[in-house]
């Protein structure tokens, strides 16, 4: 397991390898909570929002929405309380960066949440974690207590007029509770299903009050931005996507791990083949899912020699998306039919059941995949699968439906051979060689 920055100074990973990295003492020794002090004592809330806008920081939870813009949607004159919610649900398959941030450097997140709360006029911040991350809640709680004891959380923080409580909360283990409105429902103790948008959480979120939901990594970038300025952050990355990004690399590479890359890192082939140590056992690269399970799968031929830039625009141009940065590498032993079946089983299991296309569609898709896997595939099934995906995509209540359809659509289109083999009568299947 490698954790390192490549092509830039470690920004998010700066303190990862220090001894006792999660303690307040270590954090403060390395400049911790100075950004909070700077914000509270020398900046107005609007200054903070402007700095974040300037930084071109985009949400790291998957959608990549500009964070400063999101913050500016919170109505200033609302008489209602406002909330900051950290989305630490991290349930996108292939994504495991937030957990290391919280495990190794929890104070960075707390500081980010406090600065956000200051900017938005919130007095309460929640950190919502998936149920399986129970051990992280303990770490976070301990850090919050430490910070409170040091006057960094609670009443009159750092002796200023700013007061803010920070609470942790665990879900019960549902992917959909990573979707921000489902998260808010869950946080309120309701069933974990998404809410209708609009209204967006910035206007009516937790308990109907203005709420900003941000990913762990997004919030962790905030202290650095305040300390060094938005322009400095932006200059680390590209014009439209500032700063650095964590990539959770798993699968068939020599050195899986969490890598911090500057936005716009050149290029994906180098990243896989050199930085991550290449494909082990002399195998060949077959496919990459670059941004967590919900994005289009990429073929090796669309990466090798194609100079794929690793940022939002670069990946879209290459036919996929940054998503949550869950970077899954597959070598030529992988049957894409099987790997896609695995994914759709996940989506079926995680569909909240609210809307027709996702609930019934994922169930049907799984049944079809299983039938095909049993050797009962029919040539027309490829069309059936694509048509079912088409009936889900763009018609579901929340993006989970799309997320279920995209991997299948792209897999069938980009790896037709892997599907065709399964759709032949059993006798013929045996004659067609499986995977290389």
């Amino acid at each position: 397991m490698r954790i390192e920055a490549i092509g830039c100074e470690p920004l998010l990973l700066a303190r990862f390898n220090l001894e006792n990295s999660r303690s307040l003492e270590t954090y403060r020794r390395h400049g911790g909570y100075e950004a909070l002090r700077k914000a509270l004592t020398t900046m107005s809330p609007d200054d903070v929002i402007n700095e974040v806008k300037k930084s071109a920081l985009r949400g790291r939870g998957g959608a990549g929405f500009p964070t400063g813009t999101k913050w500016s949607f919170v109505p200033k004159d609302s008489p209602k309380p406002k909330y900051v919610v950290c989305n630490a649900d991290e349930s996108e398959p292939g994504t495991f960066k937030d957990r290391y941030l919280m495990e190794r450097d929890p104070h960075m997140l707390i500081e980010g949440m406090l600065i956000a709360a200051y900017a938005l006029g919130a007095r309460t911040a929640y950190c919502y974690t998936r149920g399986e991350y129970k051990y992280l809640i303990d770490i976070m709680d301990q850090a919050i207590e430490e910070a409170r004891a040091a006057g960094l959380v609670g009443e009159r923080i750092l002796g200023t007029d700013f007061s803010c409580e920070v609470y942790t909360h665990t879900g019960a283990g549902a992917y959909i509770c990573g979707e921000e409105t489902a998260l808010l429902n869950s946080l309120e103790g309701l069933r974990g299903h998404p809410r209708m948008k609009p209204p967006f959480p910035a206007v009516a979120g937790l308990y109907g009050c203005p709420t900003v939901v941000n990913n762990v990594e997004t919030l962790c970038a905030v202290p650095w931005i305040i300390m060094h300025g938005g322009d400095a952050y932006r200059s680390l990355g590209t014009e439209k996507s500032g700063g650095t990004k964590l990539w959770s690399v798993s699968g068939h590479v020599k050195y899986p791990g969490v890598y911090e890359l500057p936005m716009g890192y050149d290029d994906m082939e180098k990243f896989i083949m050199e930085d991550c140590g290449g494909i082990p056992n002399g195998r060949k690269l077959k496919a990459v899912i670059p941004g967590g399970s919900s994005v289009y799968i990429m073929r090796a031929e669309d990466i090798i020699g194609k100079d794929v830039r690793m940022d939002y625009e670069g990946l879209v141009a290459a036919g996929s998306m940054v998503g949550s940065g869950g970077f899954i590498v597959m070598d030529d032993t992988v049957d894409i039919f099987e790997s896609t079946k695995n994914l759709i089983e996940f989506y079926k299991h995680e569909s909240c059941g609210w809307c027709t296309p996702c609930r019934e569609g994922t169930d049907w898709l799984v049944k079809a995949f299983k039938r095909i896997a049993r050797g009962e595939g029919r040539p027309e099934d490829a069309q059936l699968l694509l048509d079912l995906c088409d009936n889900i995509e763009g018609k579901s209540f929340c993006p989970l439906g799309d997320a279920a359809a995209w991997p299948i659509q792209s897999a069938i289109k980009r790896f037709p051979e892997d599907f065709k083999r399964h759709l032949l009568p059993l006798a013929e299947q045996e004659r067609v060689p499986a995977v290389a």
């Binding site: 059941g353 296309p357 609930r359 019934e360």
Partner: protein, 766 residues
């Protein structure tokens, strides 16, 4: 007038009110849009995805049930893309559906079936095995076939938003989501509204299971015969038997929409064809002897002769005539005319639980309709427990608060369930609700009243402020009140109203025609029901009773009826009153007659004949008219319900000009014109109240427990006890061992419940 915007739908331009839901606008303009989860005035759900349309400048298809119209919006509801989406959704919904329409009670009136006709594919592409879910029972009233569910969640929303119960909810997730109850058994008020709004055969009337197909039933729109809210319903009859009651909007569109309560929905019809119905007239020739069947001619002759003789011997005042708040206006009015014009007695009354005469005499503002309540901005409820006694009113208050943001103030000695919707709950000592009225009417009494009620003066001041500062419609609802308190409540508008607000009243009497029987004048006779019983054998020698006395009348007067020279009773069943009757005349029930009821909103609504009178029974008014004729009197009108109603319209000012044809459309109920009283001097009543309240015990403990659901609703009465399942509810509705029973009707009899109770008692005894 709301702002108008221009919307283009399928190329046609319309001007419509801004902010309306697109789906409503499309439908109103004749562009059909299919839907399952959309249900007017419930929280938006947007989950079925049937209503997708294309809106220009928006990236994806949009759910028309969630989009509000804006100026310049360009909408397409028909295109290849939209058709594919709708067919796709329907295909998904049917993927796991059992397609067992031939054995489904909903078949023939199922929205899923209907939309499948429109948007279903001819061929099924789904070849994999379906997910199986067993059928089961969620209560004695609610049968459940989860596999047919499309998860539109209308059921859970009505349960929550209409009923405030949250008894039925979704469990599980994804394709395993299942609509269920906590502990898989519904311990709710059993209204069955979840059944009504379910567009599929998932939730079904367990008391009507597999009894008929919808197309076999002839439906008759009528008015409920239980509480004073006056819900509209459709009786479904096959031949001469009423098999079910529904409020489905495809059959009936009344003040209640698809809402009914447990009594209206399940108990409206089982008594109609019940074997215990009285079959023939009966005469008891000798006191203490047996009732012997007689012909109508014999019975009428007998009654006429005896009444004439008593009148002759003791004078007309010796005869008491008793109507009923359960009977039609036509029946009660005929009784009034019988008393005044034929017998010539002032001793007439009706068996209501309390009289509203003092209120109506002094009423300083009109009555509130249920729609007024839904859209009121302030609602004050003094006493009463509408969620148990007038459930539609309860629902309207809940929705006014939840969906309309109304301010609801509750003054009660009991923390009733509606408390949870109240912005302010003034929790007073038992029996001191009227002190609150005193304090509202008389500023000088605030401190005194607050002390007696055991509340802070600031709480009263807050209510006073709410009444004087409120904008918009203020509805004052109240339960049973003393005559003095009724006059004070009736005059409150003169104390608080000015042009910024409109005051409306909503009295909460107990019976379906309490207001009508008052309007017909029967409650204004010289004696009350209890006074008549007390005078039995003394001043009063004979009683002619349509319906029966209430338990509360007979309590402590058990002997009274036996002291009469003559007791004539018109009834459906044998009751405590018929026990002493010299003549029992079988009356036709509401399902067998034409007529009208007047509800607590003053709306006069039609009762319609669904089946001919059972056995030898006759409409109450016809029986009375026959007796009158036998006594040599004629009413001078042709004998039909509509003719009697014309007579009412000619003689009761509030009903002036009304005719049956004007009452034809249940979706436009007619409110009668009760006279609005002038400002009256209420100082005397204030004194009276002060004196009574002075007696109240200042140390009395408050009632802290919220009464359980059904404590009034599930009480067995002459009508409700005819449904076996009602006994099960009255026995506490225990969850049976097996909710999946193949023949649960057998298991769900009272016997099974008692057996189980005995078992539990035996176990607990060890």
């Amino acid at each position: 007038m709301a702002e108008l915007v221009k919307v283009t739908i399928n190329g046609e331009v319309y001007e419509v009110e801004k902010g309306r839901l697109l789906i409503d606008v499309c439908r109103e303009k004749g562009h059909a849009v299919p839907s399952f989860c959309y249900y007017a005035d419930l929280a938006l759900q947007a989950s079925c995805r049937m209503c997708l349309v294309r809106i220009e400048k928006m990236p994806k298809l949009q759910t028309s049930c969630t989009v509000t119209v804006t100026d310049g919006m360009v909408v397409t509801t028909e295109s290849e893309e939209i058709e594919k989406a709708r067919r796709g959704m329907l295909e998904f919904l049917l993927a796991n559906h059992p397609l067992d329409c031939p054995v489904c009670d909903r078949g023939g009136e199922c929205e899923l079936q209907e939309l499948t006709f429109d948007w279903g594919n001819l061929e099924e592409r789904f070849i994999e095995p379906k997910n199986y879910q067993p059928e089961r029972y969620l209560s004695p009233m609610v049968a459940n076939d989860p596999q047919r569910c499309i998860l539109c969640k209308r059921c859970t929303r009505v349960c929550d938003e209409w009923m405030g119960e949250e008894a039925i909810e979704a469990g599980g997730r994804g394709v395993a989501t299942i609509i269920s109850a906590y502990g898989d058994w519904l311990n709710c008020s059993q209204c069955g509204n979840c059944i009504e709004v379910c567009p599929t055969g998932t939730l079904l009337d367990a008391t009507y299971r597999h009894q008929a197909r919808p197309w076999e039933l002839v439906r008759t729109v009528s008015t409920c015969t239980f509480c004073s809210d006056g819900c509209q319903l459709a009786l479904g009859a096959r031949g001469e038997e009423v098999l079910r009651t529904v409020a489905r909007d495809r059959y009936v569109n009344g003040i209640n929409g698809e809402f009914l309560c447990v009594k209206g929905r399940f108990a409206s019809h089982p008594f109609v064809n019940h074997e215990a119905r009285l079959r023939t007239p009966m005469i008891r020739y000798r006191k203490g002897g047996k009732l012997v069947p007689a012909t109508w001619d014999q019975a009428i002759e007998f009654v006429a002769q005896r009444l004439s003789a008593i009148k002759e011997e003791h004078g007309p005042q010796a005869i008491g005539i008793v109507g009923s708040p359960r009977l039609t206006n036509e029946a009660n009015y005929t009784l009034l005319r019988f008393a005044r014009d034929v017998i010539g007695t002032e001793h007439y009354t009706a068996t209501d639980a309390f009289s509203l005469v003092p209120f109506f005499e002094n009423m300083g503002a009109p009555l509130a309709t249920h729609r007024d309540i839904r859209y009121a901005q302030t609602i004050l409820l003094i006493g009463g427990e509408p969620e148990e006694l007038q459930p539609l009113t309860g629902k309207q208050i809940r929705q006014a608060v939840r969906n309309g943001g109304a301010r609801f103030i509750l003054i009660n000695s009991v923390p009733i369930r509606l408390k949870k919707n109240a912005a302010q709950f003034v929790h007073v000592r038992p029996g001191t609700e009227e002190a609150a009225l005193l304090a509202l009417a008389d500023a000088d009494s605030v401190e005194f009243a607050a002390r007696k009620m055991g509340v802070e003066t600031s709480e009263i001041e807050q209510v006073r402020r709410a009444l004087s500062e409120a904008q918009g419609t203020v509805v004052i609802a109240f339960g049973e009140l003393s005559p003095a308190a009724q006059k004070i409540v009736a005059q409150l508008p003169y104390i608080y109203a000015d042009d910024r607000r409109r005051f409306l009243f909503h009295p909460l009497p107990l019976f379906n025609n309490s207001v009508g029987v008052h309007d017909m004048g029967l409650m204004s006779g010289a004696m009350t029901a209890t006074e008549m019983l007390d005078a039995a054998g003394k001043g009063v020698r004979a009683l002619y009773v349509a319906g029966s006395f209430l338990q509360q009348h007979l309590k402590g007067r058990e002997e009274a009826l036996s002291k009469l020279d003559l007791l004539v009773v018109q009834e459906l069943f044998e009751t405590a009153t018929t026990e002493y009757a010299d003549v029992v005349l079988p009356a036709a029930s509401f399902a067998e007659v034409d007529g009208t009821f007047t509800n607590n909103a003053g709306q006069v609504q039609r009762v319609r004949q669904a089946i001919p009178p059972v056995h030898l029974s006759k409409p109450d008014w016809l029986i009375v008219a026959s007796v009158a004729e036998a006594m040599g009197a004629r009413f001078g009108i042709e004998l039909s319900a509509s003719a009697i109603f014309r007579d009412i319209a000619a003689n009761v000012p509030a009903y002036q000009g009304l005719r049956y044809p004007l009452l034809k459309d249940e979706s436009r109920p007619v409110q009668v014109k009760h006279e609005i009283a002038q400002r009256r001097d209420i100082s005397g009543e204030i004194e009276t109240l002060r004196a009574t309240i002075a007696q109240a015990d200042e140390t009395a403990a408050k009632i802290t427990e919220t009464p359980p659901v059904g404590h009034e609703l599930f009480k067995l009465g002459t009508l409700t006890e005819k449904l076996p399942q009602f006994h099960y509810l009255a026995a506490g509705n225990p969850k049976p061992e097996n909710t999946l029973a193949s023949s649960p009707l057998v298991q769900l009899t009272i016997d099974a419940a008692l057996r189980r109770q005995r078992q539990e008692m035996a176990l607990a005894g060890d």
